[in-house]
Symmetry: C2
Subunit: 254 residues, 2 copies
């Protein structure tokens, strides 16, 4: 069995997230990948179906430019041929960008050491039809300089308990953020946040973006993030920015 | 009755073009606009419904960033309030970008003197899921310098008979093109054509793009456009580039 690493882009709009659900009728990226890989391997008469392992369980509506997954395949295929073959089977909202042959012990989830996400916020007065599923929309006044002052407060190791959504299942909410910045794209009239870290608690990025937008809108003190680290209380972070603006951009391996 | 001019963006993917069709079940932009304007005016008890007049009949799947339309409305409303009210009724794939109060004789179609379109072609090896409905995709080799040499051949007044699709209903196929250029967007790995002219025959831009891509792919002589002007034969232009790459960008008025 050869271990294959694939880099995947998907439009998250029509998916209930990456991970296979235990509900009938739910459509997930992992289901589609499992299906495609097993169609390719169908002649092998395997005892049990091949399972595709993803690096990150992106939520319903969240997009990816660089999700990573791996799977063990019974035949030797060239990397580019594997991309071609899978893309010919997969639906239009998923695309294999790259395939690599990797060592047997490569594991998309456990071998990764950090992830980069970005988050797009359109500032248009009215929702741009081309962005309705691909950005958040923020109509209110924003003082971008306040957001710039607040962003470095996120850097380093902190207890993100105030930034973990109700569904968070890990006891330990201490995480390390190594990059937190924002750019204004004038042509698109958008702001784009970029975050990088070793791991994130449930909905952390969407809650951080919600807090940052409220800082920019003068609803919070500019250094309110430091207070939220202290209080460790999810109720205080309030607004979770929508899934439509969030993109898993890259997963980094050692 | 006050005459209103509206500037409209729409994602053409789910529409059978701009213009109302005489087929049941067809969904068009004009139908949605007519419906919204008449919902707003419902208290007026008009003898016949208000009709929204569009500047350009974009085809099925073609997008717009700056379609223009006008309609006569029984109440005085401020421009911004009209945009707000219509956007609250319209579906997510149509958005009013701007409303202006105009003179009674302004006519979106007949008052315009030129239009600008652009056409996006993605050069990615595999279809990018975020672009599947919003660009054309060209996988073959392209010599962009040949396209740059060919583009000025389109400028000026010419008989575009070879560039008119079968459904073209005008006898006169002489048109004037005042702008024809192309840019390579490295970040997006896309080429973007821009065309401006007084009017276009049916499918003209999509057929021009098809010819230009074949020139770039060495399937045609670099000045084959001059020969096509001479032969006036639609059969020779072959390939019509898909609707998904085409955007009506701006309509110019006197």
């Amino acid at each position: 069995m050869q271990n294959y690493k694939i880099t995947i882009a998907y439009d998250g709009h029509d998916f209930e997230g990456f991970q296979t659900q235990n509900r009938p009728g739910s459509r997930t990226v992992q289901d589609e990948l499992n299906k495609a890989v097993n169609i390719l391997a169908k002649k092998a008469e395997l005892e049990e179906p091949i399972k595709v392992i993803g690096a990150s369980r992106t939520d319903s509506g969240v997009h990816a430019n660089g999700q990573v997954a791996n799977f063990h395949f019974p035949y030797e295929m060239e990397a580019y041929q594997m991309s071609l073959a899978l893309n010919s089977i997969l639906p239009g909202d998923i695309s294999i960008k790259k395939t690599e042959l990797v060592d047997d012990d490569f594991h998309a989830r456990f071998s990764g050491h950090s992830k980069r996400y970005y988050y797009r916020v359109s500032l248009d007065d009215f929702i741009n039809p081309f962005k309705r599923f691909y950005t958040a929309h923020y109509y209110w006044k924003l003082d971008l300089s306040k957001i710039q002052i607040a962003l470095p407060d996120l850097l380093g190791e902190h207890d993100f308990a105030s930034f973990a959504a109700a569904g968070n299942q890990t006891e330990n909410t201490i995480r390390t953020i190594t990059r937190a910045d924002m750019e204004f794209n004038q042509k698109e009239n958008e702001i784009v946040f970029t975050f990088e870290g070793n791991a994130f608690v449930y909905n952390q990025i969407r809650i951080m973006v919600g807090v940052l937008l409220e800082i920019g809108n003068n609803k919070r003190e500019v250094h309110d993030i430091l207070r939220l680290f202290e209080v460790k209380d999810r109720q205080q972070a309030r607004f979770t920015a929508p899934a439509s603006g969030l993109y898993l951009d890259e997963v980094f391996y050692g």
